[in-house]
């Protein structure tokens, strides 16, 4: 049968479905569903890490292998610095730009080094929006409670409290830089309701929230003339005799030379791990999302947390093949789009938390109510035309121009035809453990953004990441800058690496790989 014939069931059942309300799952049923179907609970995909700060903790095999991997830097490496700075920011996404701008603003000398171009990151792709409690009926406390609930009550309370309380002032900062958030008729910030939230709280810039914020932040980094090292990928950190962080070693991807940067403090803002394709999942992440920061911090002795839990975004594209893994924004479900199985039935409250929705999609597919493409992929329908039916023709086009264009390129008009979706690997819930200054247990080593862990607990609520980036980017930048004046540049040694290698040897050098990965190996070899 062809796509159009199969889609008919979605059109045919639309009116009946519109009369239906599906309650969110009560806690017990939700836990049962997740335990049975969420990829985080597939025991076979996990193994314990053999040594290092998280020895015996379990994580996915792909990540454990990289964490135990060896550094590409040899023991006798020449550590003469090519650059010296107060604050070294590694990563040019949202967290990195925010950190660099705030550290620079506080008077520190800053270098921002990044793997690809400035801004090539997950941050530019954020479509759904940014959670900040600005509405009168909302409050930071409600934001806190919603997030805690979404995070299975495992969130670090202090990190979370700081984030929700600083949110409004972050919105003000972004506005002052010229970010164009959507507005209501009275000039106030327009807020939308996101999955798992009890109040409308998502600030948006059409469906280009991340792009708009990043265009502005990138421009600001350039205006401030912050020194940039583009196409430079961090491959190792350096430490002094006490084990404090003192700089980093990069590989220049243009000429394969190494670059050494001595820094009083280092902020890792290297983002997530989608490109490891854990458990074989496609991903919504950018090309450089290979978890490098986790490997670097781990070798240095920083403790990681919640690295056994990942977010599978419920709606990754499954068809056409060219868009595999690409995100179909949650905004569609926020605005009332239904999820529909092959029998034309809804099967979950579309606004339940992401883990619940993803698990239920996987259940539908595993129990034979999915739609299969001939390339062997499977998915369920997302009824996008419903939005036009509910809110009038042109709604999809007006509210989701980015998505319209993405599908139009492959001849699909999502305002007329539903799209086929399946969970896609989207976000690393955990990461390097930090405190409210964004500092790790390794002195002068800061981590901000998706590479850090704790704030989101075991499941991130939609829209909380953009806020996380700005709040902890700022805090890491300010703390690192304030320290710089009073401190001396520490020595550059690889003592932490010697320790790590001894440890690895004791455990039989089991991994056999070099890490970080830098870029995924997509190039076809003959």
């Amino acid at each position: 049968m062809d796509v159009h014939a199969l889609q008919q069931i979605v059109h045919r059942t639309r009116d009946a479905r519109r009369k239906q309300t599906i309650p969110k799952l009560p806690p017990a049923e939700r836990d049962q569903l997740i335990h049975k179907y969420h990829p985080d609970y597939r025991a076979s995909a996990y193994r314990p890490i053999r040594f290092g700060p998280n020895a015996d903790d379990k994580t996915v095999v792909e990540l454990a292998t990289l964490l135990e991997g060896d550094s590409p830097i040899a023991d006798g490496f020449d550590l003469t610095p090519d650059y010296q700075t107060d604050v070294l920011v590694v990563g040019g996404g949202g967290a990195g730009c925010a950190a660099a701008l705030h550290a620079h603003g506080a008077g520190a000398k800053v270098i921002l080094a990044t793997k690809l171009r400035l801004g090539d990151s997950n941050s530019v792709m954020a479509q759904g929006g940014m959670q900040i409690s600005v509405a009168p009926e909302d409050s930071p406390v409600t934001h806190f409670v919603d997030t805690l609930k979404g995070g299975h009550m495992q969130n670090d309370h202090q990190l979370l409290k700081v984030m929700v309380e600083e949110g409004p002032s972050i919105a003000k900062w972004l506005l002052s830089l010229g970010v164009l958030f959507d507005r209501d008729g009275d000039g106030n910030l327009h807020v939308k309701k996101g999955g798992g939230s009890s109040k409308p709280r998502l600030l948006t810039c059409s469906d280009y929230t991340g792009l708009e914020i990043m265009r502005v932040l990138k421009d600001e980094v350039l205006n401030q003339k912050i020194q940039l090292l583009e196409f430079c990928s961090a491959v190792e950190l350096t430490s002094d005799e006490e084990g404090n962080c003192t700089g980093a070693i990069f590989k220049d991807l243009d000429n394969h030379r190494h670059v050494v940067v001595a820094a009083k403090s280092v902020i890792l803002a290297t983002g997530g791990i989608g490109r490891l394709h854990i458990q074989g999942f496609p991903t919504s992440n950018h090309y450089g999302a290979t978890g490098d920061g986790l490997c670097l911090a781990y070798r240095m002795g920083a403790k990681l947390m919640h690295i056994d839990t990942f977010q599978y975004h419920p709606s990754g594209a499954v068809y056409p093949e060219q868009l595999i893994g690409a995100l179909v924004t949650e905004g569609i479900r926020s605005e009332g789009g239904h999820l529909v199985n092959a029998k034309g039935e809804r099967f979950v409250n579309e606004l339940d938390t992401r883990d619940v929705v993803s698990s239920s999609i996987i259940r539908e597919c595993e129990e034979g109510r999915g739609i299969r493409t001939m390339s062997g992929r499977i998915g369920v329908w997302l009824d996008t035309p419903l939005l036009d039916a509910e809110q009038g023709p042109g709604t999809v086009e007006k509210h989701f121009p980015a998505m319209m264009m993405q599908f139009e390129r492959f001849g699909i008009d999502i305002s007329k035809d539903p799209v086929l979706i399946y969970p896609t690997l989207h976000y690393q819930n955990g990461g390097v453990k930090i405190n409210t200054d964004s500092e790790t247990n390794v002195k002068n080593l800061f981590v901000a953004g998706e590479a850090s862990g704790g704030l989101h607990g075991r499941n991130r609520l939609m829209g909380n990441s953009l806020l996380d980036l700005m709040v902890y980017g700022k805090r890491s930048g300010l703390t690192a800058a304030s320290r710089a004046g009073a401190m001396k540049q520490g020595k550059l040694t690889l003592m932490h690496l010697q320790r790590f290698r001894t440890d690895a040897k004791m455990h039989g050098n089991l991994s056999g790989v070099t890490s970080p990965m830098i870029l995924p190996a997509y190039t076809r070899k003959e």
């Binding site: 009168p136 409050s139 009550m153 106030n188 810039c205 205006n223 243009d254």
Partner: protein, 237 residues
């Protein structure tokens, strides 16, 4: 997987049994599966890609490319992560272009509409050739945007360029040496920072937080036992 029923299968054999097509990448011929994106075609043909790939999702503009289809003399532009290859296509990636970006302090501009002419003096020299619009893979009416910027209609420009991924394809084609995307970026930021209403509700909320309006609630929440907190959370709908 319990997937016996053939009913729910999208029957498109070509999706698995790829038809191979011949394309030309930077002047060399390669056989690749029809319909994969240009970036995937580069990988398929054995090339390492460092420059020319970023988000892989159509948002970062790193993958600007030129292409031409069989028997058509017209050279078009696209985002290589979003464009499917077809037989006879000829492709090349666009290298970075050395456009000049003006630097400014957006918050302390005196007269942003006038400042445009100091920052980008070439902007009013637009000769209306429309090459920028034709080059834009995001289908923005770039020429119109440049004109509107010059005439001070900053609001329209900021709306028109919301889709701009800063790929820079509009720049090398401009006969007046304008970088339309950079002009638009300045204009959009000025619109946001200077010509947009300040949201009063936001200031109210910031003040409430400063004044400790939520302190009692915080005190209550943060001293709850795990069980109490879980019960409290469960009540919130």
């Amino acid at each position: 997987m319990a997937q016996e029923d053939k009913e729910n299968v999208i029957d498109q054999p070509e999706v698995i049994r790829h038809k191979m097509v011949t394309i030309e990448i930077a002047g060399k011929k390669y056989e690749v599966p029809e319909g994969i994106t240009i970036i995937k075609a580069l990988w398929y043909s054995g090339q390492e890609v460092v420059r020319g790939a970023g988000c892989l999702g159509g948002f970062c503009g790193a993958c600007a490319a030129y292409y031409r289809t069989k028997d058509d003399p017209k050279v078009r532009t696209c985002l290589a992560c979003q464009m499917a290859v077809q037989d006879g296509m000829s492709i090349t990636m666009m290298p970075p272009f050395p456009a000049r970006k003006a630097t400014y302090d957006i918050q302390t501009l005196d007269n942003p509409k006038q400042d445009l002419f100091n920052l980008y003096p070439e902007a009013p020299l637009c000769r209306n050739c429309n090459a920028c619009t034709e080059a834009c893979p995001q289908q923005i009416d770039v020429r119109e945007g440049v004109w509107k910027a010059v005439f001070g209609d900053f609001k329209s420009v900021s709306e028109m360029f919301m889709d701009c991924v800063m790929c820079g394809m509009c720049t090398p084609v401009c006969i007046a040496d304008i970088a339309p995307n950079l002009v638009a970026l300045y204009v959009s930021r000025a619109e946001g920072a200077h010509f947009t209403e300040k949201p009063l509700g936001l200031d109210t909320r910031i003040k409430e937080i400063q004044d400790g309006r939520f302190n009692d609630e915080w005190a209550k929440i943060l001293t709850m036992t795990e069980k109490e907190l879980a019960d409290h959370c469960a009540k919130v709908k």
